[in-house]
């Protein structure tokens, strides 16, 4: 295992670049509100379809890089991603055939809670559905456990026989 502290974030691993080093935390309000709007209009299946479309379409530059670089590319992406998210406490470990993202403090849940926002109950399922849709394009899979502020995300190259994601293992908010 290589703790993220031994592998500093390289922002060039991100597909898009801004002039500031981190995003504006109030944008988490927009993300949560967007999920609620789509869930209200299309139901949970519609929200899941939105997440999967994001994973395959918007995240194409991400999974294209994962295709090219393999699991080290997955690890470097998540290091860079969370380095650019304000208030996150995350470690990324690379092991044989897997990358584990340990989210000690989710920046989105933290900011939404600090500001008293009602969080969409299935908010944390985004991390399974978006990531799975993207990872599948690159030949990987993901499992998520926990949520509502901290979670564990395991990216791996499937060799068959892995149990499917149990969505009950993703905590509701």
């Amino acid at each position: 295992m290589i703790p993220s502290s031994q592998a500093p974030a390289d922002l060039s691993a991100l597909p898009y670049h801004d002039t500031k080093p981190q995003g504006a935390a109030d944008f988490y309000f927009g993300i949560n509100a967007t999920f609620r709007f789509i869930r209200t209009k299309f139901g949970l299946p519609g929200l899941i379809a939105y997440w999967r479309d994001l994973g395959t379409q918007y995240y194409k530059p991400v999974w294209t890089r994962w295709q090219a670089l393999g699991l080290p590319g997955v690890a470097s992406y998540w290091r860079a991603f969370f380095a650019a998210e304000p208030g996150s406490e995350v470690t990324v470990h690379e092991g044989p055939g897997e990358v584990i993202v340990e989210v000690k403090t989710c920046p989105a849940i933290r900011h939404l809670r600090e500001h008293g926002r009602e969080i969409v109950p299935e908010f944390c399922q985004q991390c399974y559905h978006i990531n799975a849709a993207a990872a599948e394009q690159a030949g990987f899979d993901v499992r998520v456990t926990g949520g509502n502020g901290s979670c564990r995300q395991r990216f791996f190259a499937p060799i068959g026989g892995e149990p499917a994601q149990n969505l009950e293992e993703i905590t509701r908010c």
Binding site: Q22, G30, I31, A33, T34, L54
Partner: protein, 174 residues
């Protein structure tokens, strides 16, 4: 997870996702119900009770946090913003992200219903190049928007590159 760092990228992508499922009316509904009434309730909580002072507090916080280049001026009967480098549209331009046909419409999409409910009207122009200006006045108060340079030396309309874009105008009901 969706990040705040590239928020403007997936936000703009979402406009087109919605348009393909419900046309422009669904996009407009999203800006009103999802963004104004839900996401931006912190803006409403400042502007509705405090008026121009609330506008100053809201935009001073949010535009600094987003990394905008802008100026704002509060007059006796108006509040004005000049945006010389929109962090949101600028992010899209720099990263070559275009899914929806007119990203800039989202600002009027959520700010207009907020201001109507709070008792204000809007004069506004944007040039689709990350530059725009806004003047807010109380509903029913007469008065045309200021002439270029009349209220602030930071008036974006004085910039040589202002007319380089496709300028779209919105006028307050008088």
């Amino acid at each position: 997870m969706l990040g705040s760092y590239d928020f403007c990228g997936h936000y703009e992508w979402t406009f087109e996702w919605l348009r393909q499922r419900g046309g422009e009316p669904l996009v407009v509904k999203y800006w009103d119900e999802g963004i104004y009434q839900d996401s931006q309730r912190h803006a409403t909580n400042l502007i509705a009770p405090l008026g121009f002072e609330g506008m100053a507090r809201y935009w001073d916080h949010t535009l600094v946090e987003e990394g905008a280049l802008f100026s704002a001026v509060k007059g006796p009967d108006f509040f004005r913003i000049d945006m010389t480098d929109c962090p949101s549209k600028g992010f899209l331009i720099r990263n070559g992200l275009v899914q929806y046909h007119d990203y800039c419409d989202h600002c009027m999409g959520w700010i207009d219903p907020l201001m109507r409910d709070a008792g204000f009207g809007i004069d506004h122009e944007h040039n689709h190049q990350g530059q725009c200006w806004w003047e807010f006045r109380k509903t029913g108060v007469p008065g045309a928007p200021s002439a270029p340079g009349e209220t602030t030396p930071g008036d974006v309309r004085l910039r040589p590159d202002w007319d380089g874009g496709n300028v779209q105008r919105f006028e307050r009901e008088r």
